[in-house]
Symmetry: C2
Subunit: 241 residues, 2 copies
């Protein structure tokens, strides 16, 4: 039986891929994914068949991967983790159409972890991950989640903080959070994790309101105990020092 | 200037370590950590000085690592991610005592991601990660966070669901969540991720109430849309199929 792997390759360059993910890719004859990500893998594993598909055609990409997987070991790759805002969910939802393909999900380092490590340790304790993209989630539900996470004093990690169509969403999220946390709450932003132009910045929640995020940005909003130490954003675990 | 790396090695065996983490460990002369984790690394990198410390002496472990790092490249290792309930936070908090040591945090695959991949794709969309350990967090705050996450229809991933001293906490968490979600909500548990005795189980929220978790268990509680497809736990992203 041929196999389909859904592989999280980690952020940016190949250095954050796991040994397990790399081993799975080596076993495959076909690697399917969005062009930016297949190009990264191609440099390291040139002797594979690479199939690129446009960004918005997620279902077509999954069906194509299954078609290949019926006869050859195939991987469908995702930046970051395979599951978190990745393709694993959709691939599983389509599995019933391809009973003869064996499916394996291989995790990877998602931006919450890689971005967190760049800033320091914002996610030491309980945290919530929320995407501000309303392509597939109603905006009212996103706002409700922001509010609930703020009420629970969760550290909040925001994916997809902005795009041209929703330039005001990050500001609105910050305003909701400021109903529960002070304007000096420690926040952090990272851009282009593991890629050229990688950058990070620590700022206050008030300053974050007016920060111009883009689709390559991941945002971290500290809880009430998050602080800055020696240039690192850190949420204390609670040890007595 | 000598370096101290805080390295997340991923769950269980060495296969979920990232290329970046392995490269950092290779650069180090000294590797500090809890015995179970240093033993795993020692098999692959035998020619290092390994320093093991007991589980509860976290501050001592960090200070020891800094002491070594003053003269030799040193890594302090954490299972899973370096930040998420890991040592990175505490290491940063102690950084001011060792101005001459350069600090680098290297992320790893945390149990939410590796356990999620074993089950399928529970964390496809917005999720909250909550530890039920009340050693360092007041139990009232943990319960509040459970409630807020349930209200926001977050998928919830629970770390440290049980120990001898707090055997009823998982049941109490489930009862709070059942005030907001039905008893048939799809849940999953994984044990011993990446290790001997690895197991997974999909069950309902009602069944989870009476599940006997231990300290090697990670728990996933689906949101209102989470379902089971072909044996996988999956939270749909929201694509129209």
């Amino acid at each position: 039986m041929a196999k389909l792997y859904v592989v999280g390759t980690g952020p940016g360059d190949i250095s954050k891929i796991t040994a397990e993910a790399l081993a799975a890719l080596k076993k495959c004859e076909v690697i399917v994914g969005y062009t930016v990500y297949t190009d990264i893998i191609k440099k390291f594993l040139p002797n594979k068949k690479y199939v690129s598909t446009p960004m918005t055609k997620e279902k077509d990409r999954c069906l194509l991967a299954y078609k290949y997987a019926e006869t050859e070991n195939t991987a469908i790759i995702c930046s970051g983790d395979a599951g978190v805002y990745g393709m694993a969910g959709l691939v599983i939802e389509l599995k019933h159409l391809f009973k003869n393909v064996e499916l394996t999900i291989i995790p990877g380092v998602t931006a919450a972890l890689s971005g967190g490590a760049l800033l320091g340790s914002p996610l030491t304790v309980d945290f919530a991950v929320i995407s501000l993209s309303d392509l597939l989630t109603p905006y009212e539900l996103i706002q409700k989640r922001i509010r609930c996470a703020a009420q629970g004093d969760f550290v909040i990690c925001i994916y997809n903080p902005s795009s041209k169509k929703r330039s005001g969403y990050l500001k609105e999220a910050c305003q909701i959070i400021m109903e529960h946390r002070g304007p000096k709450t420690v926040c952090g932003v990272v851009r282009n994790i593991g890629r050229d132009g990688e950058e990070k910045k620590i700022l206050t929640l008030k300053e974050l309101c007016d920060y111009q995020a883009d689709m390559f940005t991941t945002v971290f909003i500290g809880n009430s105990a998050t602080t800055v130490k020696e240039g690192f954003m850190v949420t204390p675990r609670g040890y007595i020092l």
